[in-house]
């Protein structure tokens, strides 16, 4: 075909045009980014996150031991009739919730890394912090790390049973999962530990059984000696309230909706809490914790705002905060 014939052909030129100019030069991932952009963003993200690792951790230890000592003192004070029960009840609820925050740092070895001089402190903080909620540190750590490894996996994430369609259903589920015949919460954890079958898992199961028996033994002894109301207000009710509060803010709120959200930047949400930053235990920025568990809780807010442009570029919904 001569050049003239080609130019005179109907529609000539249209079928010979170059590919559309908006077509990417290299393949894009589901996040709309090419691998070079992703790599550069990741490098930048790591450099920023590194600035927020570590820091002053002794306040966690002081809070853990201080609160535990005060809570423990409630028992003899109640028996001696020297305790303001409504105040002790409110404080016990606070200690149950706060204890999880301090133990959470210990779970990630943020108070003392293995082999460091402060490792013993890390382990001691973890051990005392979760006694009020009758949740031994050995079990708490194993299950929490499993949650990190398999976040939002319906079969492998130990916290998946907290999923609920809305806020009210989530509060209900925190209670429902603790029912004796329901495979949720601590019952679910026990089953997972039994399946794991490792020495650490067996130790966690034994410690759970011992702590539960101590808990029941304390409640029964106090109750049959005329201090049932005191036992209920110092340990039984605060434990239930604390566990529900922890489950709601640490598990449901930052991970809802869980279904199909297993990716690094999608398994945890940035959300605006109605009760604010402190009362939600910093969980509004829980995504930062999942990305970098070595960043202590009190620095996740600061780290989030430093990381926000990168997170936005990675497709995270940063609109709530």
């Amino acid at each position: 075909m001569s050049e003239n014939e080609l130019l005179l052909r109907t529609g000539a030129g249209t079928e010979t045009t170059a590919p559309a100019s908006d077509r990417p030069a290299m393949p894009l991932g589901p996040d709309g980014l090419d691998r070079y952009t992703r790599r550069d963003l990741r490098k930048e993200e790591i450099a920023i996150a590194r600035q927020f690792h570590g820091g002053t951790m002794w306040p966690y230890a002081v809070a853990a031991f201080g609160c535990f000592a005060v809570w423990l003192s409630f028992f003899p004070l109640a028996i001696m009739g020297m305790l303001n029960l409504p105040l002790a009840f409110a404080l016990s609820c606070f200690f149950c919730v706060g204890g999880y925050v301090t133990s959470h740092e210990a779970m990630h070895s943020n108070i003392g890394r293995p082999g460091s001089k402060t490792r013993w402190l890390n382990e001691a903080v973890g051990a005392v912090s979760t006694i009020p909620i009758v949740f031994p540190f050995s079990m708490a750590r194993l299950m929490h790390l499993e949650h990190h490894y398999h976040c939002n996996d319906p079969l492998k994430d130990p916290d998946y049973t907290d999923e609920a369609p809305n806020m009210w259903a989530a509060w209900y589920k925190t209670w429902y999962n603790r029912q004796p015949g329901v495979d949720g919460s601590i019952h679910h954890y026990k089953r997972i530990l039994a399946e794991m079958g490792t020495p650490a898992a067996r130790r966690a199961l034994v410690e759970t059984m011992i702590l539960q028996l101590v808990f029941m033994g304390t409640l029964f002894t106090m109750a049959w000696n005329g201090y049932a109301i005191e036992a209920a207000l110092i340990w039984w009710l605060p434990r239930h309230i604390g566990l529900s509060y922890i489950r709601f803010f640490l598990s449901w709120a930052p991970h809802h909706p869980r279904e199909g959200k297993t990716g690094r930047y999608e398994n945890t949400n940035i959300f605006k809490s109605r009760v604010g930053h402190i009362l939600s235990m910093g969980m509004q920025y829980h995504l930062v914790h999942h990305l970098y568990p070595g960043i202590p809780n009190h620095r996740t807010k600061e780290a989030y705002y430093a990381l926000k442009p990168i997170l936005k570029a990675r497709g995270v919904d940063v609109s709530p905060l």
Binding site: Q179, P180, G181, V182, M209, Q212, L213, M216, L219, F220, A223, W224, G226, A228, I229, A231, A232, W236
Partner: protein, 64 residues
Amino acid sequence: MAAVLKQVLAWMPFFFGIGFIAPLTAQLMQLWEIPAPFGLSPIAFGLIFGGTWGLIANIRGRWL
């Protein structure tokens, strides 16, 4: 030993009803001056109430 402890834990809702709910009920009735029905003592009523509730929780697997 482990088998015995497992059995104890399996029946924990019932034990909890007897061991804790019963005296708690009795002490709350005394605190709020609520008389027990059928001329029962508060602790007798607490044992019937707590024991029954615990047993139901054990069988049904739910407290409510």
